[in-house]
Structure formats: structure tokens, C-alpha cells
Symmetry: C2
Subunit: 345 residues, 2 copies
């Protein structure tokens, strides 16, 4: 198994270290060889090579079986000619990572951490399927000057088709309930989106489909999060809604995500950012990275037993009260990792 | 004072009735003459004339001193050639209503109704200033066919300039704290937006300005709503974030909003929709409409005493325990209105 690791910026290197340590432990325990190569990316790429996504990083990622990304960005590179974020967008586009899967789950034991009332959020368990290589992020023309600015929200039907099918397939493995989010009362692209969803729905008669406008969806995520099973939406709406959804769990530091292409490597990363304010302090919660590693084991390598073992060990450590600062505890990043490692060994 | 009233659809006519009844009471009490003309609009416009915004409605609105709108839309007209929503967008554009002001306030007495934990939401008091006639809603090209779809996010600097100035002016009357929301790490239009905000900021040295990405803003509204004072953002982001913000108050039925042009009449309306499911049952909460009337009295007519009297009377009725179904009570729309009327008289 060849893995490209992109530690990136801020707390990225610390949590990547945690993830890779435990990946190695899993490898020893279950006798797999994981060939991990670390590449410069994001701000670290700019510092090292002047480019947030240097050629060797693109090459290494393209040739890998899977990619682990920790986090990128920070004030230092905000005004760079090519920013860390530009590098991330280029990576997504180059590898064709059109499908971003973000599970949002609130286990009973952490429901009290939610900013929402506990009764309201308990039992929340849904997946946001976000289109990742189209829409406003990439449409042309896209330019600005001192007088005016233009971005373009463009979708080909085929781009909508493939992400919507992915969402239906996921819904089939769950409660068979799909919510498509658009703004079909205003946007032309949403009209095509909605029509495409309705067409594909006829091929999945078992799946109950409903449509929500994006403004209504932003309300329902707060009012009634347990009502969702699978949400599918375009790139920009997915960015906003998945971040909104992530905070209702009360534990941003624990959410992994996966991005997939039609073929080629998938990329796994925490949902949160690089948190420059707590970088280098050994206090970041490595759970999101650990769970990203587990997601990779399961989805890219079909190593289900291994993924289960890793998730179970990490959950045990948390249940035993070893919590990082974001969860009100005092456990350090490295101490947490050592605990998980000890259980695995 | 000439007022154009657009009752619209769903619960619209019921709450408009409430608002107009109390406007008349205020008129009698304070000896003003309010000349109210009701015009067909939205679904009601389609049913009556085939057009959600018939010529006489445009004419009546343009010539009025202020416009009261209740709510529009419903499943009946979803597939109309020109929908109720199209009518609303045309009205906004025709009258140049570029500035949409949505106050989000959580009084201590209703904080327990919020889906958020009470401690977290108590004291929330901010204003969303949403650009209303530009961006993705109106940019050209905007079209779709069976193969592809395009929307255009276009802004002239002058359009950004005028809404941002409005937000700064509002911030000056409050805590002098302005949060500008954009997606400057991805969108060209957001780069121009951010630059413009920073330029205008130099003219308002007393105002503290910060910038948030829209995804981060969607998180912070839940995590730390009391941190905001004035939020300014473009049309689509404003649609999503103001609706998200409205539900943290726990009382969607109580939020008014105002939309303003460079010159000409302003429009006042509840933040919520037409709620077709409860239409005609005499159970809708008329507070949002009543507060929209008060907002009109204050902002369009400078009738501060009158606005205060109306708001105070309505608050008294609520404090006395007369609550509509959405707030857990059994008071009907008309009974609530009669109570407020009695106090005013
Ligand atoms: C960093 C940024 C470009 C990115 C996005 O908007 O896609 C991030 O917010 C995310 O959600 O992965
Ligand atoms: C009805 C719709 C077109 C409208 C909008 O998106 O502006 C509504 O959601 C609003 O916020 O006033």
C-alpha cells in the first residue's frame, strides 16, 4: 500500500504524526506494509519550494494508492501569489476528486458537547455528499479588477449525474432517504440539478427523495438534524452546509472526510482547518486524523478489521477519560496517540 | 402616507390582515391617515391575472411611500412559467431594493425556545445586512438546457460599495463592530468584496472590522452568536446565513425585515415564508408582520412614538401569556390581534 502523506500547516504536522504512528502500529499488528512518503503541500509547499503544490507532490499523489492530508493554510500565506488553498483546489481538480463525503454523527456520549440542546441533537447521523470539482469554485470566466468581478457557476449534466448517483448508492446502504439541496427557485444550475436528481430517482425506487432549498436546509440542520440521512449538494452549498453541520456535533476535532475520483487514489482528511492559534503546542485533538486513517483503511484498502481495531482503540482511550483540550481535557496530542498505540499493541 | 400592501399566499393574507388592522388602530390613536391599497402579488397574482407581479402591482408599489409584503409561494405555483419567487425578484430589481436588513435578536424571555443551548444564545443581538439585487441571483449569462447550466456571480464595485457603506453606517449606530462575510480564498467576486470593505473601513476608523469566510461564518453563528454585531454579505451568502441565524432565535414567526433602495419606497416583510401547511387555520403568529409594520412606521415615516406603542402593546400581549401555536400556545391569529388592538385603544 503506497500512501502519500501531506502534513501541511498549523496543527497539520502534529496530527499527521499521530495518524502515521498509529498506521505503522496497525501495519505491524496485522502484518501489512504501508509505504508512506511525505510531500510538501500548502504553506509548507510554498516555504519549501515556492509552490503550494510542487510537481513532486502532484506526481507522488497521482501514483499513490491513497492520500492522507492533515490541514493547510494560515495567515502567513494569505497574500501569497498562489495560496495554500489554490494548491488544494488544484489537487482536487488534477486528481478528479469530485465526490467529498463528510459523515456527521453525534454519539450519545458527546451529545452534551453540542451547541444545540442535547435532546435535539442526540441521534444525529447523516452524511453530506458534496460535489467537489465543479460549480463556482472552477467555472470560467472568473476574474476581477478594480471595477467589477465575475465568478461562474457552471455544471455539466454529467458532473451532476455522477455525484448524485454516488449519493443514491450511499443512501441504499443506509436508511434509503436522500435530501437534495439546491436553490431551484433562483438558479439555473439548480434547475438542472433538481431535474437530474428526479431522473436518477426513478432508477432507485426504494430511496425516498426530497428537495430542500439551501436556505431551508441551513435552518433544518439546526432545527431537526436527526431528520437527515444523506444530503447531496453542489460544491459551494456543500462547503457551507457541511461546515455548519460539523459544529452541531460539538466536536469539530473528531470528523474525518473522504474525497473520491472516478478512478485513481482517494484523499482522506479532517474536516477542520489548520488552527494556527494552537499549532506547535501539542494540544490538538488527533481524532479526526486517526479516523481519516481508519476511513482510508476501510474504503481504499478494504481493511475492515484493521479500521475497526483503530477506531475501537481510539474510542476506548476517550471513554477512559483521556480527552484533549477541545473536549475539556488535558491530554496532549502525543499522550493520546501513545494510549491508542498501547491498546493496539 | 400611501402604503402598498401585498398579502400574497399561504398565511400571508391572515397576517397581513392583522398588520393592517393594527396600522389602522395606530392611525386612529395618533391621528394619521394611512392610505392602504392591496395589490395582487405572488401566487395570488398568478391566480388573479396570470402574472405574479402584474403591471398595476408594480405601478402601485413604485408610487407608494412604503410597501408591506406578507409572504409568497407554495406548491401550487412551483411549476408556473413565472413563479411567485420570480415576481419577488423582479420587484426587488425594479425598485432597486439593494439593501436587506434582518435583525436577529434573542430576548431573555424567549431564549429557552432556541434550538441552541440557552446560555449560548442568550443576549444574541445582531443585524444581517444582505445585498439584494446583485450576485448569482441576477448575473448574466444564466441559462440551462439538458446538457449544462450556467449562473453568473457578477458584482460591480459600486454595488458592493453602497451596501458596505450602509452596513458601516448601521454599525456606527450600534457597537461599531462589523463582520464582512465572503469566500475570498476561492471567489474572484469575494476578493473585490474584501478589498472594497477594507478601503471603506479607512473612512470609519471607529468601526472594528473582521472578515470571515462564509463556511466559518455558518459555524460561528451556531457556536458563538453573541459575538456578532453587524454582518454584511453578498446576496446568496446573505440568503443562507440570515435564514440560519433566524432559527437560532427559536421564533421564526417574530422576525421582521426591511429592504431599501437608494431612493423610492422601502419594503417591509416577515423573514419567514408562506407556510402553506398552516394557511387558513387562523393559527399563524402575526408578530413578524406586526413588527414589520412597526419597522415601517419608524424607518419610512419616522413615527417613532407610534412604532414604540405598537411594539410595546404586542410585547405586553405576549408577556400576558397569549401565545400562538408556534410558541406553544393556543391563541389564534385574530385573538392575538384583538388583544394588541385593545391595549392600543
Ligand atoms: C480551503 C477551502 C478552499 C476549502 C473549500 O472551500 O473547499 C475548505 O473550506 C473545505 O471545505 O475543504
Ligand atoms: C423566495 C426566495 C427567492 C427568497 C430569496 O432567496 O431571496 C427568499 O428565500 C428570501 O430570503 O427572501
Amino acid at each position: 500500500y503506497t500512501i502519500a502523506a501531506l502534513p501541511g500547516d498549523g496543527i497539520g504536522p502534529e496530527i499527521m504524526e499521530s495518524g502515521l504512528t498509529l498506521l505503522e502500529t496497525i501495519g505491524k499488528k496485522f502484518q501489512h506494509e504501508f509505504n508512506v512518503t511525505v510531500y510538501p503541500f500548502g504553506g509548507a509547499g510554498i516555504d519549501e519550494t515556492g509552490d503550494p503544490i510542487p510537481p513532486q507532490t502532484i506526481k507522488g499523489c497521482s501514483e499513490a494508492d491513497a492520500i492522507l492530508l492533515a490541514a493547510i493554510g494560515g495567515p502567513k500565506w494569505e497574500n501569497a501569489e498562489k495560496t495554500p488553498e489554490d494548491g488544494l483546489l488544484q489537487l482536487r481538480k488534477t486528481l478528479g476528486l469530485f465526490s467529498n463525503i463528510r459523515p456527521i454523527a453525534v454519539s450519545d456520549s458527546i451529545a452534551h458537547l453540542s451547541p444545540l440542546k442535547t435532546e435535539r441533537v442526540k441521534g444525529t447521523d447523516f452524511i453530506v455528499v458534496r460535489e467537489l470539482t465543479g460549480g463556482l469554485y472552477f467555472g470560467q470566466p472568473k476574474h476581477w479588477n478594480d471595477e467589477e468581478a465575475t465568478d461562474t457557476l457552471f455544471y455539466k449534466k454529467s458532473e451532476i449525474d455522477r455525484i448524485v448517483r454516488q449519493a443514491f448508492d450511499i443512501a441504499m446502504t443506509r436508511s434509503k432517504k436522500l435530501t437534495s439541496v439546491d436553490k431551484a427557485n433562483v438558479l439555473a444550475s439548480s434547475k438542472l440539478w433538481r431535474k437530474t436528481v428526479n431522473e436518477i430517482a426513478t432508477e432507485y425506487p426504494e430511496v425516498t427523495v426530497d428537495h430542500l432549498y439551501v436556505d431551508a436546509a441551513s435552518m433544518k440542520i439546526i432545527q431537526n438534524p436527526t431528520a437527515f440521512d444523506v444530503i447531496v449538494t453542489e460544491n459551494m452549498f456543500g462547503d457551507i452546509l457541511s461546515d455548519e453541520a460539523s459544529v452541531i456535533t460539538g466536536s469539530l476535532g473528531m470528523l474525518p472526510s473522504g474525497s473520491h475520483a472516478v478512478s485513481g487514489p482517494s484523499l482522506y482528511e479532517p474536516i477542520h482547518g489548520s488552527a494556527p492559534d494552537i499549532a506547535g503546542k501539542n494540544i490538538a485533538n488527533p481524532m479526526s486524523m486517526i479516523l481519516s486513517v481508519a476511513m482510508m483503511l476501510r474504503q481504499s484498502f478494504q481493511l475492515h478489521e484493521e479500521a475497526d481495531a483503530l477506531e475501537k482503540a481510539a474510542a476506548e482511550v476517550m471513554d477512559a477519560g483521556f480527552l484533549t483540550a477541545d473536549l475539556g481535557g488535558t491530554t496532549t496530542t502525543t499522550a493520546f496517540t501513545e494510549q491508542v498505540k498501547a491498546i493496539l499493541e
